[in-house]
Amino acid sequence: METVLETKGAFKAFEGFVAIRDVSIDLEKGEKHAIIGPNGAGKTTLFNLITGHLELDSGSVNFEGRDITGTPPHRIVKLGLARSFQRINIYPRMTVFENVQVALIARDGRSFHLFTLGHSLNRDETAELLELVGLMAEAEEVAGELAYGKQKQLELAIALASHPRVLLLDEPTAGMSTAETVEAIKLIEEITEARGLTLLFTEHDMGVVFGIADRISVLHHGELIFSGEPDRVKEDAEVRRVYLGESHGAA
Amino acid sequence: MSMLANPTFLFYQVMNSISLGMNLFIIATGLTLILGVLRVINFAHGAFFMFGAYVCWSTVTFLGGAIGSFWIGVIAAAVVLGLMAFVIERGLLRYLYEREHLTQLLFTFAIVLVVGDVAKMIWGTDQYNVPYPHGLKGAVNFGFAIYPAYPLLLCVIGVVVAVGMWLALSKTRWGRIIRAATQDREMLAALGMNVPLVYTGVFVIGSALAGLGGALAAPRVAVSPGMDATLIIECFIIVIIGGLGSLWGSFLGALALGFATMFGTVIFPDWELVLAYVLMLGILLWRPWGLFGHPEEDSH
């Protein structure tokens, strides 16, 4: 198997508090890799380090054989690594259509075209993406006024617009009802399959994690305490002790 | 330039720089406190300063220049401005905290226009001079040089205000709350603090400092309309240099500006204003958030 994304000895502290300690994980092409851990384990911090939003104190990040440590987010996206966010992160006063269109404009390197009318750019592809995530009916609505679940779908469409090969999803079902979660997971699986994406995701719902992950890594107090197949996670004594034992959502 | 080789003149310049710096510090520290806690750029701070100077002049005039009238004027200025700030914050500003920065900024700009014209209606466009207070009309003999007593006292008052503020901010419960608020506003509510009360308190204290600074400046400068127009910019420069919300930052920033102005006048006559900006740019290149500032949260 080919490794597409890899962190080596990632380390990050905030004013003395160590958020990520010596984390080395790798992501193989085509796999669906879940990162789990209690709240505050450092999952989101790890995502922020990988995508360039935060700077590593030490260690490195490699993407498709290229060292991307210290590369700003907008460059990393262009290399083919996109992400979604735990908290809704859209453009609230723009329409749903424009939310996705802007991402496509950026992907095509047209963000600095001062004299190309924006309205007619990438319309077909925007529509396609909205169709894909099931938001075509809401295309002209103001994004901030959508229902929560739909905003999450929009978030996914924005991430997909960058044409990533690797997608990082931070809690894709956070705040969703059970029915919405089922829908969302189905959608994510379909899209990953159809586009041949490699997926790295964090998730609090153990049902979802064990349902779709090929591999699971467990973070605890910023340290990686386990990485392996789902079956073996449940058997690992330490994981049971620090995590599954305390969690009520265990499958 | 060669004048700087003269030790007496050099001493004079250094003392003038510190004196000016301390006067600026008293005003700017109020501004930075409001900025740090309320996150409001208060353009009206300069107008409050001017109002303070006028109130001091009126008090001194009303009391016929009696002994102690200046100090009553200083206290009156702080109290009047504190009250004005209380009315403005409770009556209007507090409804705007949830709105965009632009709205708050324009709000304080509107207050500048209104307060400036109200001052003009009350005091007209004449220039007033406030004499040095009794007992401070002379000079102090240092042995090798003499220096006027009032500007010297300004230096002392500046240090007293700085130490007093520092003690209040670090040793009292309220002070600690205010300091916490400059770091993380959400924490205030989480700690169960009465946030609106903290905001009112900070706005009142900050504005009272502007009034105090104006009254103390009154014997140094001509009290007239427009005396606030460039002062507010000097205060902004101090806050930018020192870092938003930082007490010692504004202390250092004010001293730096005092020196840049006084020595600039000698070394680059006529360009001392520009020198202040060059100083600010230099510091910003080195530390974009000022000497004691913290980077902003980069989220939305």
Binding site: F112 | V112, L244
Partner: protein, 312 residues
């Protein structure tokens, strides 16, 4: 969306035609007023690229207006250069100044950004104030050598109308371009825009340069119209004034700021005839807008319209 753009286009054409007919009314006063409003409208529109479209509050926008004005005046008068060179050169100088200042300012955001633009704006004021030999200091730069073909009030009015119309059209295009759309995204959510591949710092810098350049155009017109440039044009209160125009008209519509400029300027001229206390009137108007009309005149009109639509 398309229908709305089309309506805006026709409305604009109608306004330009009506303006072109103003001189036929025979009132010199109206011609002068229209010229002044046109210049301020362009100034406000340029600021809105920063404020409305990219969400960056500049409190030092008067600097580029003044740089455009001084440069044009100095090139025309001191160096006796023709308009065809002076005006473009002045506009480019304003743009370059904005590029330099913007480089520092876009490193910061929100309050820091606003304070830094203000400080830079006042740096320009300080230079204009102190550099007497070139700018005339606080006496102002007077006696601008305006070319003959735009020497009288009527030809200058038409010249202004053409320049402002063309500039506004360019600004409209920029605001509705791929760039403009991305700018709005950055305003709405800077972090998200970064994560779809937008270099947000560079984008904000470009917006800063665009805004400064077009403010420079307005400045050149202002200098020639007044046959002089004064330091007050660079003062922070001037930046505040144009901000109020923008806010009064409405930040989130393209022509809102132009409307705001027209209303505020007319108000100022008429009130000045009755009282010297224009600032207190302006301050009160501003307080009312802030407290009760957060989206400006255009927002108010839209709200009233939707009220009627609901009732119908």
């Amino acid at each position: 969306m398309q229908a709305k753009s089309k309506r805006t286009l026709w409305l604009t054409v109608a306004v330009v035609i009506l303006l072109a007919l103003v001189p036929t009314l025979g009132s010199k006063y109206l011609v002068d007023l229209s010229t002044e409003i046109l210049i301020y409208a362009l100034f406000a529109l340029s600021l809105n690229v920063l404020i409305g479209y990219s969400g960056n509050i500049s409190f030092g926008h008067a600097a580029y207006f003044a740089i455009g004005g001084y440069s044009c005046a100095i090139l025309l008068t001191t160096y006796d250069l023709p308009l065809i060179i002076s005006m473009p050169a002045a506009i480019i100088l304003a743009g370059l100044a904005a590029a330099f200042v913007g480089y520092f300012c876009v490193k910061l955001t929100d309050i820091y950004f606003a304070m830094l633009t203000l400080a830079f704006g006042m740096l320009v004021w300080a230079v204009a104030f102190k550099w007497r030999s070139v700018t005339g200091g606080d006496d102002g730069f007077v006696g601008v050598a305006v070319p003959e073909f735009i020497g009288d009030r009527y030809s200058f009015f038409y010249f202004t109308l053409v320049v402002v119309t063309v500039s506004s059209a360019l600004l409209w295009l920029i605001c509705h371009s791929a760039f403009g759309r991305t700018l709005v995204a950055v305003r709405e959510n800077r972090m998200r825009a970064g994560f779809v591949g937008v270099d947000t710092k560079r984008l904000r810098h470009t917006a800063f340069v665009v805004a400064g350049t077009f403010a420079g155009i307005a400045g050149t017109l202002f200098a020639m119209y007044n046959r002089g440039v004064y330091v007050e044009s660079a003062f922070w209160t001037e930046s505040g004034q144009v901000l109020i125009m923008t806010l009064l008209g409405g930040l989130y519509s393209f022509f809102g700021p132009a409307l705001g400029a027209a209303v505020l300027y007319t108000l100022q001229v008429s009130i000045n005839q009755y009282t010297e206390y224009w600032p207190i009137v302006l301050g009160t108007v501003l307080l009312v807008i802030i407290m009760f009309l957060p989206d400006g005149i255009v927002g108010l009109v839209q709200r009233i319209r939707s009220q009627f639509a609901r009732r119908a």
